[in-house]
């Protein structure tokens, strides 16, 4: 059983294999062809994911989480339930990305497969991911988006609160919450799910240990939000104002090009990306590719009109 992910998504493949109670190895290649993943299935259930949730990956994750010293080569000193919790988190996070792949291919090879540390059904996985998505949406509302920048509250405020019990993730958040990173960057820095970090930050803010500083006024980020919502003209207005103020802001020029494409004005997009190259010469290759694509599109549309 094999095929391109553009025709059948990974979740459908997993559901088919689950219904057939198939055992074997499912090799999946996404947009990066050099980074293949292998899912091990026993009677239709995912029992292992390599290399993302292998033993070596678990050790690396525990080191990154400061639960093992940097020179650790094994995780024997960590309790088995903790190791498996970390493994499950790694697998869930990797699968969350893989399920969105629409490029690449899969190849399933049936055969006897040893039991592994996981035991996930495809349906449970989907439910899990849907639940995480809705938690993210709720939290984004509660936190006013992911742009807030957490930092330790002033000493007098921290001191006056009630007794708290903090776990390892809380301590890592306190360590990394520097008032510069926003919530999204904090979650990425900690390599933890956005919704988990968001919930913890909300609790720490409620406990008067952290405070959330307003997002930095970033017109490019605001413009991106507008683009995501289809408000291209609003995005263009913000970005034009930005590049007038800071002509060397390459990211603003790049985003302006995207907004112009969204609005169907390819000639202006090409102009914006040309300015992007001038502001950021190291982006020339990326900009050229986009400019070529915009020209092709412009010519195609022009030919179609003719």
């Amino acid at each position: 059983m094999h095929g391109p992910l553009s025709e059948i998504g990974l979740i459908e493949v997993l559901q088919l294999l689950e219904r057939g109670e198939r055992s074997g190895r499912l090799r999946v290649v996404g947009p990066d062809q050099a980074a293949a993943r292998t899912l091990h299935l026993v009677r239709g259930r995912v029992v292992a994911l390599e290399p993302d949730a292998s033993d070596a990956a678990v050790v690396r994750a525990l080191i990154r989480r400061h639960e093992l010293p940097a020179d650790a080569t094994g995780a024997a000193e960590i309790a088995p339930d903790r190791r498996e919790a970390v493994r499950a988190g790694l697998a869930r996070s990797a699968l969350g990305v893989m399920l969105h792949w629409s490029r690449g291919r899969f190849d399933f090879e049936a055969g006897p497969t040893a039991d592994g540390p996981l035991s996930w059904s495809a349906d449970a996985l989907v439910l899990d991911l849907v639940e995480a998505e809705s938690r993210r949406a709720e939290l984004a509302d509660a936190l006013g988006g992911w742009g807030g920048r957490p930092a330790l509250a002033p000493a007098e405020q921290v001191r006056d609160g009630a007794r708290v019990h903090l776990d390892a993730l809380d301590w890592r958040i306190l360590d990394a919450a520097d008032g510069r990173r926003d919530l999204a960057a904090l979650a990425a820095h900690l390599a933890e799910p956005l919704e988990t970090v968001g919930e913890r930050v909300r609790e720490l803010v409620a406990a008067a240990i952290l405070q959330l500083h307003d997002p930095v006024d970033d017109p490019t980020r605001q413009a991106r939000v507008a683009i995501d919502s289809g408000r291209y003209d609003e995005a263009i207005e913000r970005l034009r104002a930005r590049v007038v103020q800071v002509p060397a802001d390459g990211e603003a020029w790049r985003t302006l090009g995207l907004a112009e494409v969204g609005a169907g004005r390819f000639d202006r997009a090409i102009a914006a990306w040309t300015a992007w190259c001038q502001a950021l010469p190291e982006a020339t290759a990326d900009a050229d590719a986009l400019i070529r694509a915009a020209r092709t599109m412009m010519e195609a549309l022009s030919a179609s009109r003719d």
Binding site: H66, P69, I78, R149
Partner: protein, 380 residues
């Protein structure tokens, strides 16, 4: 508004107010955060406080140890759940295990803090007193060591008896060392390290017959006790039993090329003893490894095993280039092998190193002969 980038001391102190002071995991993690924020004093305080509490996680000891070495890298957080915490403690998170580990690494400040923490647990206290006593003895703090040994010997373990006797011997009081071992004759009879120590003390006290009896008994209990094997060779040599001496020392040399005559026995609560080489064993009346090797070399030389004898004298000279006896005897071996030029080199080095010594005089005579012989064997 400006936002601070890392927690400052005031914020960390305020945070400490919010934590349960009886929770070693919370305190250990506060130590971690403080160290990463550069608040090292606060970090050390929190880690010590955590380490003094029952069930302290391994990370508390690790933080203490790293900070004592002036390092802030490699620190870890405590496991996030209680099950893991309990497992961490049972797998070596005890202050005594940490103390012995630090003691073996010569991190004495950390070892002392950890031993002190272990004193709070009645089950660990005797072994902790023993470790503390060794630490004080190594630092030359004899009064503190005596006081600690008194506490350790309230529940006399193999390690406490051994180390106390060894301390007397190091201080030059062989009689008190032997007397202590005699007081605990029942324990001594069942322990290879104690039997060995009794034998070694007897040898130092010029009682080779008793030494032989005790060392052989030690080897009967533990044939792999290398220091007993070497010492048996020394005892046999002292008794004029050269063949036995040769056999024992060669057997010892096969087991390990280095003779470490004295070790401290540390206990970490797991039931056995952990050996710590006594770096200051020079304080003992001199029977050092080089002497053992010299005896072996001479025995091999007398028995005509010239190649092996050469190897043994080479070992001594590798460690001490101007060792006069080794230079002299290697010269003899080389001369017997008709390598007169090299023999001459050794003797000339000896004459230069110890011109007025009796060995120097003999070497001078040998060198004159060797010079003539070297001429005979020189290429035309």
């Amino acid at each position: 508004m400006a936002v601070p980038s890392a927690p400052d001391g005031g914020q960390l102190l305020a945070l400490r107010h919010r934590l349960d002071p009886a929770d070693p995991v919370a305190l250990a993690n506060l130590a971690w955060l403080s160290a990463r924020a550069g608040e090292l004093e606060l970090a050390q305080q929190a880690a010590r406080q955590a380490a003094a509490l029952p069930g302290a996680p391994r990370s508390a000891w690790r933080t203490l140890e790293r900070l004592a070495l002036g390092r802030t890298d490699g620190l870890t957080l405590a496991p996030p759940d209680t099950a893991a915490r309990a497992a961490g403690a049972s797998r070596g998170g005890s202050p005594l295990v940490a103390a012995v580990a630090a003691h073996r690494e010569a991190a004495s400040a950390v070892a002392e803090a950890c031993y002190q923490a272990a004193l709070g647990d009645p089950a660990l206290a005797p072994a902790a007193w023993n470790g503390l006593a060794v630490l004080h003895e190594q630092r030359g703090e004899t009064e503190a060591a005596d006081a600690a040994w008194q506490r350790a010997l309230a529940h006399p373990s193999e390690g406490a008896i051994h180390n106390r006797a060894l301390a007397w011997m190091r201080r030059g009081d062989l009689a008190r060392g032997r007397s202590l071992l005699a007081e605990h004759a029942d324990r001594v009879a069942e322990s290879a390290p104690l039997l060995f120590l009794a034998g070694y003390a007897a040898l130092l006290d010029d009682d080779p017959a008793m030494a032989r009896f005790a060392v052989e008994a030690a080897l009967a209990r533990d044939p792999d006790l290398v220091r007993a094997q070497f010492t048996l060779g020394l005892v046999a040599e002292r008794l004029g039993r050269h063949a036995e001496a040769l056999t024992a020392i060669r057997r010892g040399l096969m087991m390990s090329p280095w003779f470490v005559p004295m070790v401290w026995l540390l206990e970490n609560g797991s039931g056995g003893s952990i050996e710590l080489a006594d770096e200051a064993a020079d304080a003992l009346p001199k029977i050092a490894s080089d002497d053992v090797l010299l005896i072996l070399g001479r025995s091999l030389l007398d028995a005509g095993h010239l190649g092996e004898a050469l190897g043994v004298f080479d070992q001594v000279l590798l460690r001490e280039e101007q060792h006069t006896a080794a230079l002299f005897h290697r010269g003899v071996v080389l001369a017997k092998l008709r390598r007169y030029g090299e023999a001459l080199d050794d003797w000339e080095r000896l004459i230069e190193a110890a011109p007025g010594s009796s060995l120097g005089d003999v070497a001078r005579r040998h060198a004159a002969s060797a010079r003539e012989l070297a001429t005979l064997f020189a290429p035309a």
